[in-house]
Amino acid sequence: MRELDVTNVRFAYEDGTEALRGVDFHCENGEFIAVLGSNGSGKTTLIHLIVGLLKAKSGEIRIGGRRIEDLSAEELTQRVGLVFQNPGDQLFAATVGEDCAFGPRNLSLPEEEVQRRVSEALSAVQALQLRDRAIHHLSFGEQKRVSLAGVMAMRPSVLILDEPTAGLDPAGEAQMLHLLKRLNRDEGMAVVLATHSVDMLPLFADRIYVLDGGRVLQAGPSEEIFCQQEMIVRAKLRLPYVSRLMYEMKRHDGVPIDGLPLTIGEARAQLLELIPKEMLGAENGGKR
């Protein structure tokens, strides 16, 4: 079933800037979707429309099969949750526990249920030990995880994240994406992330939408998206570094590579096929 269905949506800001020019987008139950685009491509506008912060000029947005206009605020907040790019925008309570309890309490749930949801959400993002800490004593990475927990405590069926890895170090970026994949796999939560960081997406995303100038340039699985070098350049993006290396080797050096590997694992497997067994290190016995 389609959790999110966006059809021919257009949106212009008050100054006349057309941010979206007929966007079609959908997300199935339990899917992991990435919306790729350079700055100003319309990613944030699209997600703000989906969560109801902005209203589309034309087109239709359906959530769980129902038109967004027909959903009450309570229903909408329990169906889609948005994690902001800057956790400072989202963490407004004094402590981690109080912040996570904010949403469930707004749903008028009994206090035991509120506390259960807070514990579960904090456990899921590996931040249970931070429960009584003041927000301003958290590191940036911890703030990112706690802001995710605050939204998860609402138990939305679709989790939308605006640049979830922005400002994180490489280890933090990998940790965040693994965490999202785990939530997607274990909790069955559909994940939509808006990003322009391409290197790790092929490992996680089921489908990718490429946005440019308020239009969807291409949508499909990562292997389909990243084999279109020209389209990627037109969207002011780039290939993952490992794919770029393989592409250059194929193009300039004539290295016989099938397709375009998107991950280090795929690239390694292809290169190993080309290297004679006897040239491989003796210590691994030429194991592939």
């Binding site: 912060l53 907040t77 949750g81 400072g88 407004f92 004094a94 904010f102």
Partner: protein, 258 residues
């Protein structure tokens, strides 16, 4: 600046930070009432000494106390001088500046001293409360004391965003300093004005973003609060004992004055 607002000590584990916030707040309010209604300087100065001694015993740097009490201390000094020279009858000493003669009076200095002692005693109590109870627990306790939910909501948001905006202002000030924005007094003045303006703009922007984030988590104009836990027996005894001691001290002062 950061030290002035720092609440890091309230998160330390010690006997005082473990007390229920309703109890610490009630004791602080009792102490404040005793200090501001005192008829002599002994009780307020004793409160000052006890609070500063308590802070030192908890290994809270006295520099922090000095920083937090510096501004009120300046007000107290002005208060004593104004009272000393403008009220009372009995002359203590006089001096002349140009054609102006200033005469200090005993009654004025006594009154100024008492007011100053009350101010310092009361602020020391508030300072001590602020280093043994985290702000969010004080807010929790204030609910029990009937503070309006709207005020409480504003206080919680203010408390949270003081730190966010301070971080932002510090980053902007550092960027200005690195481009010699504070090289001359004139430039420093211009940079400070820009910094203040940018911080205000940032706070407006921040308010919009925060409101959007709150709406997306079900906020409809009233912040929800969780229930308060039941007061423990140990805390009840602490409350009775402390309020008893404060009342006894106030009564003793009243008795001594008659």
């Amino acid at each position: 600046m950061f030290e002035l607002f720092s609440d890091i000590f309230t998160y330390r584990e010690n006997a005082l930070t473990r007390i229920d916030p309703r109890v610490t707040l009630a004791i602080a309010l009792g102490a404040l009432a005793a200090v501001v209604t005192s008829e002599g300087v002994v009780l307020p100065l004793a409160a000052l000494a006890l609070c500063l001694g308590g802070a030192a015993a908890l290994r809270i740097p006295l520099r922090l106390a000095a920083l937090r009490l510096a501004a009120p201390l300046a007000i107290v000094a002005v208060l004593i001088v104004l009272k000393g020279f403008l009220t009372g009858q009995t002359p203590l000493f006089a001096f002349t500046i140009g054609t102006w003669t200033f005469t200090a009076k005993a009654e004025g200095f006594r009154e100024g001293g008492l007011l100053g002692a009350r101010v310092l005693g009361a602020l020391a109590v508030v300072f001590f409360l602020s280093v043994v109870t985290p702000a969010h627990r004080i807010f929790q306790a204030l609910r029990r004391f009937g503070l309006s939910r709207d005020w409480l909501e504003i206080a919680i948001l203010m408390y949270r965003y003081i730190f966010v905006l301070m971080d932002r202002a510090a980053a902007l000030a550092a960027a200005q300093r690195l481009r010699l924005g504070y090289g001359t007094p004139r430039r420093a003045l211009a940079s400070s004005a820009t910094l203040a303006g940018a911080t205000i703009l940032r706070s407006i922007d921040q308010a919009g973003q925060t409101h959007a984030a709150m709406r997306l988590r079900g906020y409809r104009g009233a912040m929800p609060f969780g229930p308060l836990p039941a007061l423990q027996r140990r805390d009840r005894w602490i409350l009775i004992l402390a309020l008893g001691l404060i009342s006894a001290a106030r009564l003793a002062e009243w008795g001594a004055g008659r």
